[in-house]
Amino acid sequence: MKRLSISERLGLVSYRNQARTDAKAHIEVDTDICNSTCPHQCTTYVCPAKCYTLDEAGELHFQFEDCIECGTCMYACDQGAVKWSYPDPETGRGVNWNFG
């Protein structure tokens, strides 16, 4: 069986409000903490949807659009940088599992 990349995997996910360009973020990350005092930047590898990434300059960025609402970053971040909530059904993103 072919190895799947993260984008191929996320391509199988049914996201809500996919057509909305102004979807409201349900997770807010204080990236100042990520890029200054965080000793491990663990969310860049524990997030199963790779929503936390490092650019070439080593700066951390967060995007909520690919988030699959697993909850991981809310526990893995012990630096107080993640403000986590559920997406609003109408204005937010989030998932609609076909199998679950």
Partner: protein
Amino acid sequence: MEEKFDCIIVGGGIAGLSAAMILARADARFLLIERGEFCGAKNVSGGVLWGSDLNELVPDFGDSPEGFERFINHRRLTFMDDQSAFSLDFKSAHFEQTPYSGVTVLRSKFDAWLAGKVEAQIEQGTHSESSFLATDILVQEVIQESGRVVGIRAGGEDFFADCVILAEGVNNLLTRQIGIEPAYVPADHVAVGVKEVIEFDKSVLEDRFQLNGRSGLTNEFVGFCSDGVEGGGFLYTNEKSLSVGLVLGMKDLREKKKAPQDILNQFKEHPAVRDMLTGGKVVEYSAHVVSTGDIDAVPERLYDDGVLIAGEAAHLLLNAGKAIQGMDYAMRSGILAAEAVLAAREVSDFSGAQLSGYQKALENSYVLTDMHNFHDAVKLLHDPMMFGAVPNVLCDFGRQFFTIRSEPGQKSRHMMTAAVKRHSSYWDLIKLGAKAARAL
């Protein structure tokens, strides 16, 4: 909303729907609110629903199998190193009688089916116009008045009830809002589950896994599958697909600097797993946090004035090595929470003191009894030897034992001694064995 409800349930997962079924049967007036587009839309499990509680909620569910995937009559526990797999395998006709003691489910389908059964039950009562399962609505806040829970706020509207059941799952924001659990829950209280659903031609699946009609196989894995991280793997047969995934300790994952989706790739490429997946097509990738099942993570009190916490919102789950039991725990705790609400209604007293009967009922049921009794087993699973030395020794021994060379052979006890020496020491294994004997 004009009148207040007898009860508001937050969450239409297994705990919430189970509570709703009991309330509907007693003809109570309630509101269940689920944020997903339909019940199940947001939920992920491995998923085997163990035990026989489903039969209590939906009698004879086994005769009309639209809700579940397969009943389990074949179980396998596999220890793996990078090349080998050493399994304990048990299949029995005893498991073929209804009520089944384990069925595989896909939550998007199962929860929606259970919600349909609850709605049918509501229809039969006098509140068919005033009890609701409301979906696609997010509960934003629990409303408290002088320290007592009186209702919830959702979609800018307030709803009131004598009692609220929080059945919101492990990511329990409202349970934290009312202070039953601290606002920050540390990584060592939870694990992360990642999973794929892999579809097959049904006849290929049946032939490959020796399935007969609706029978099914569960396979748990320890060792190489979790790449040195505390946790394990699973492979479960659905009607036309497999659920394949991992549950990985969150703190250990953070410390070992590993990505769950990479470990899943590696697991799928293990020779023993690879050959089970040949020809399949991945149709969904998912992930969700799951409780570790450590009773130390369960809040001290699962009730307060006007409120009860059920299911994984209360970290009720057992993972003592032979199965993950979160759904049956959610089901039973949901049932007991609804029964506590009905008992409170009898005496018109929804104080914490009255509702504490819920916690006592949990203590008397398998839920908290087993979480206490198997606490040592849960702790034992965190021992690195359990996912390192033990599977390695077994696979090494297996390789020697099953190899036939054209030369004089060794006695098995010499093989075992050599295998132990290569990966561990007898003394360490004896210590572990003694712990295991006490724990199990």
